[in-house]
């Protein structure tokens, strides 16, 4: 801390180094997002970076203590709008562990389909922001435009474009029709074709490549030390994916690879996301071929249904919930749920004391775990590299701030 001295007239001044400049990058800045990074610059080179996050903090952990268990799934999916399915899934998995209930197989498949659709749209969103930070407006428009396909597919499954509220304890809220899988295949073919265009226009564009190659290098050891998660960790050579380490949903029924890059620079992180989209497409194809028929909610809960609710389920293939679920009281205990979200691992820790409201909910989002990169990664690079690094780690302030 520099000394603060009074120079008279009630004005205090701080002596700063003649060579350095302190730059407030955000929160009113075209590419800072809802956050501020306080930079110390020596000429054009960043010598100190201090991310000041929390501008969109909504105290979700505290708010969840004031709401009933089932209502909290609506709260938490507001963490990451494009990854709502994955976030809710982690919460519901933890809640199901508390309740001691398991969803039927078809529900697991449907959850996984939504997860992968969310993953693709989350990656497209991240790369779109990355593209506009590098100044590639075409990349931005393409990624954001094509994201619409995935959003509409999610709408076909869940009935809503972004905040799906699709997962419920013991199953899912709606079933899909046969025609959905034809549309899914059409959408996947389109994205697969477009991936080649992205590579030509964006990733292998000579200017973009020169901006992101060897920029923001994160070594494997440093990534482990900083606890980086998701595609950023895998692009630094950490072969870790929750879908493999602790399979949930239908991931144990499908065959997929986890792409890993060794370089750890912004280019590797971009290629990592492209490869993960390819893997998601392959997972979705396998799932849509092998999805079994059957109920979408655990039998134990189906017994509680009134005849009117059963009729809705038969006719519309959607679940109308018994009112008793609002005062769901899981037995006292604790449980955790972890899910591989688009940006990395999301972790929920629930503690119940047998009341209709949770005693404590702890949620650690991938962006919060990756936010530490904004402190250590830009140091030594140029000011113009900051957007490249920020965009390449796919940092999403609302998710980090919770």
């Amino acid at each position: 801390m520099e000394a603060i001295s009074d120079i008279g007239g009630g004005i205090s001044a701080r002596k700063i180094d003649d060579k350095t400049m302190i730059l407030f990058f955000g929160p009113q800045h075209p590419s800072s997002g809802h956050m501020r990074i306080i930079l110390k610059l020596d000429g054009d080179v960043i010598i100190e970076s201090d991310p000041d996050i929390g501008y969109v903090h909504r105290t979700m952990e505290k708010l969840s203590e004031t709401k009933e268990w089932i209502k909290n799934s609506v709260l938490f999916e507001r963490l990451a709008i494009l990854d709502a399915g994955n976030v809710t899934q982690a919460y519901i998995i933890a809640l199901e562990k508390l309740l001691g209930i398991e969803p039927p197989e078809r529900a697991l498949y449907l959850r996984t389909i939504l997860s992968e659709i969310n993953r693709i749209s989350s990656h497209l969103y991240g790369m779109g922001i990355f593209a506009i930070m590098l100044g590639s407006s075409t990349g931005y428009m393409w990624f954001f435009g094509d994201r619409e396909i995935m959003v509409q597919l999610a709408e076909r499954i869940t009935g809503s474009r972004l905040t799906h509220t699709y997962h419920i304890p013991g199953g899912v809220r709606r079933d899909v029709s046969k025609s959905f899988f034809e549309e899914l295949e059409k959408g996947l073919n389109y994205i697969e074709k477009r991936l080649r265009h992205y590579e030509i226009m964006f990733v292998n564009n000579p200017v973009v490549r020169s901006r992101i190659e060897n920029v923001g290098i994160l070594s494997r050891e440093r990534a482990i030390d900083l606890g980086v998660t998701g595609p950023n960790a895998r692009a630094s050579g950490i072969d870790f994916d929750v879908r493999v380490e602790e399979p949930y949903g239908a991931y144990s029924f499908v065959d997929f690879e986890v792409p890993v890059y060794k370089e750890g620079d912004a280019l590797a992180r971009t290629f990592q996301r492209m490869d993960e989209i390819r893997q998601s497409i392959s997972i979705l194809r396998q799932l849509s071929k092998s999805i079994p028929e059957g109920p979408i909610l655990n039998e134990k809960y189906l017994k509680l249904f009134t005849p009117a609710m059963k009729e809705v389920l038969e006719k519309d293939k959607r679940i109308k919930f018994p009112a008793i679920f609002t005062s769901l009281k899981p037995p006292s205990g604790k449980a955790y749920g972890r899910v591989e979200e688009g940006r990395g691992e999301i972790f929920f820790y629930l503690e119940s004391n047998g009341e209709p409201k949770p005693y404590r909910v702890r949620v650690v989002t991938p962006s919060f775990r990756n936010s530490i990169l904004l402190k250590y990664l830009p140091v030594g690079y140029r000011l113009a590299d900051l957007p490249a690094i920020y965009g390449s780690i796919d940092y999403f302030p609302p998710e980090a701030d919770r």
Partner: protein
């Protein structure tokens, strides 16, 4: 997703000063990063439990996958040695626990608020149970109106 509702591993530390040595042992065993570092408030027994979940990137066959450490802290003056030296990934999460619960991490390199405004929330720790969330709904307004003798 077995029916097991409890996190299996739990390591309970009564004396906060023992935490660094426990953490060092765990790190040598292969638990190399912190997933979550937070706390749970128990006002009835005047305790705050620091709850740390650690996991491993390097050792695939480690059991359990997520190891939970609980540290009992005095609610009036929660102090605990910082883990940043052992697990650098704890840095931001310790700052969060500091502002949310008022837990002081000794020897933390940069112990400041991270999410909350330091002016508005100095000395106020929102995740403690004695912090009441003001719910803005119609019932609250009615109650206040009744309290104020009706809306005139």
């Amino acid at each position: 997703m077995s029916g097991d509702s409890q996190v299996k591993a739990e390591f309970f530390i009564e004396n906060p000063a023992e935490l660094p040595s426990v953490a060092q042992t765990l790190k040598e065993k292969g638990y190399d990063h912190v997933i979550s570092l937070s706390a749970v408030d128990y006002p009835k027994s005047n305790e705050i439990h620091l709850v740390i979940h650690v996991s491993s990137y390097t050792k695939k066959d480690i059991e359990p996958k997520i190891f939970e450490i609980r540290v009992k802290l005095n609610r009036d003056n929660p102090r605990v040695p910082s883990l940043v030296k052992i697990w650098p990934s704890a840095e931001f999460q310790e700052r969060e626990a500091y502002e949310m619960f008022g837990i002081v991490f000794e020897n933390h390199p940069d112990l400041r608020n991270i999410l909350l405004d330091p002016e508005e929330f100095s000395g106020v720790h929102p995740l403690r149970k004695d912090y009441i969330v003001q719910v803005e709904d119609i019932m609250l307004k009615l109650k206040e109106e009744v309290k104020n003798g009706g809306n005139k």
